[in-house]
Amino acid sequence: MKLIACIKQVPDTTEVKVDPKTHTLIRDGVPSILNPYDQFAIEECVRIRDQIGDCSVSVLTMGPPQARSALMRCLALGADEAILISDKAFAGSDTWATAYTLSLAIKKIGFFDIVFCGQQAIDGDTAQVGPELAQQLGIPQVTYVEKIEIDNKNKLTINKQTEDGYQILEAKLPLLLTLLPPTSFQPEHPPMSSILKAKRKPFNIWDVETLGGDKSRFGLDGSFTQVIKTYTPPKRGECELIEDNPKEAAKKLSKILCKNEALTKR
């Protein structure tokens, strides 16, 4: 069997700051990390592979040359092979163009049983590439996956998160999953021995020529959406601090709340 995981290297958004003058992101000094959702997807992918046996994991990403380090981490976490899809032509891809590029790479690999993605990436938070990729591959998808069990080689039992709980689904292969880590998820840090082993695993770089496909559909040109402006969100007003004994503080707060239309309009 063949499992494929699609991952993304992202700036650690918890470290991102905005330049107050230019209103652009200050990326200098912001660490690049493996998207935490994707790390969970890789760990699950490797777990399922080990359970099945006779099965391999290919991990792919579309990104600049530096994205190599995110792939190396995936190899250290247990993936068998890495593919970096990298070319200037892919720059500026929106979610559709990204999914198109990934779909070409997966078709080039040729066969697979399950495609693993993180539910979303912490930089864009769109959660769109997974479903768009599934559609382009012509396979079913399950999003918001919390738990996977493989029953036999052709069937999965999946817990899918819903807004008020979860569903238990039964799914046939092939399919694409987008995974949601549990709140208690702590990304595994691979030991030095695994990091060294990762360096000996197959690592491929594919460019536009390798992928083939319709060149007009890559990157900025192939993107249907265009970002025309970015700016910092309007600042919130100053915080009104109340420091008083609990009774008085409660009185003051109650007054403020009672003026709010969420309470008056009931």
Binding site: Q128, Q141, V227, T230, I242, A250
Partner: protein, 400 residues
Amino acid sequence: MKILGIEIILDKCTGCGLCVKVCPFAAVKILNKKAEIEANCTLCGSCLEVCKFDAIVIERPKLSDKNLSEYKNVWIFVEIRENELKKVSLELASKAREIADTLGEKVGAVILGEKAKHLCDEIAAYGVDIAYIVENKNLSEYNTSNYTGILTGLILKYKPNIVLFPATHLGRDLAPRVAASLEVGLTADCTGLSIKDGLLLQTRPAFGGNIMADIISPNVRPQMATTRPNVMKIQKPDHSRKAEIISIPIELDPKALKIIIKEVVKTTKAGVKSLDEADIIISGGRGMGSAENFKILEDLAKTINGVVGASRAAVDAGWRPRTNQVGQSGKTVSPKIYIACGISGKIQHQVGMKSSDTIIAINTDREAPIFDIADCGIIGDLNEIIPALNEELKKNLCKN
């Protein structure tokens, strides 16, 4: 009969009939052991996906500057739950009305479900002109493939200019699938929508809410977006409004589904609103100290018709279920009032609640980052303040 845009390659077709099973519009028949496409085919592509022999080729008409103007009207996908409209559907209808008025176009609403007709009058009151109703007993629970096929088919047939989906679990599963099928752009999780130079201007937060982006999809139709719940204002309903109803006949074979729902488990109590839909959220964090102590938040929630949420720390401690979690690895909410109790408010929490209208923080630590984004902060012990606040509110709300 030959249908424009779809062809069966007879050499490859084995007459297996999978395409017949999966076609929601009942537009495929098997004749002389070969598939035959009927005139009501919408080119939705459901058959393409199941055909094991690559025997179906679909070529949809290409868009050009000339035919962009054929696309008219603003559509919303209406999400329902337990046969009722979800609040976000009213928000979408209100927003769509505003956009349609700017463009001089109509508002269309697509409603899928086991029963949908009873919802037409209510959604019409919020500005919908035409309701496209798809009723089928196999649509009572959402499934990606049927919904995608039906939506794609309807969009190809009626050519709307704009389609809005809710950025809910359902909408975020369905919209990208439909967008990829139609080969159009999709902007996720919009917090602002307006018309600029005749185009849909889509505003969304990115990089954990650190930055806002304005996005357009100028060269394709429809222009599609998912919209974050609780952000768009609901307009006053006009119950004298009526919508034109167009019923779409559908045939679905549940056996064609590759993903089957075995069990639906609800971890929130019946009748309790979900966090995404709540006007008022009272969240507790590490400072709550115990699961039992959340009772004071539950009591307050009862008084002001709020819903209780939690920070990751409280969920990790096992005090609250996962569905309660607000923040980066939980839900993104934007209620009218967000009350953070004993939550320090690290960036990961802020990402999930920063767009709330009014933020109130109660914390003993005056240095807590939550106070940086709060509109009103109380420095003190929540164990004393919350019950006192509840009593005050009970008194004051009775007066009104």
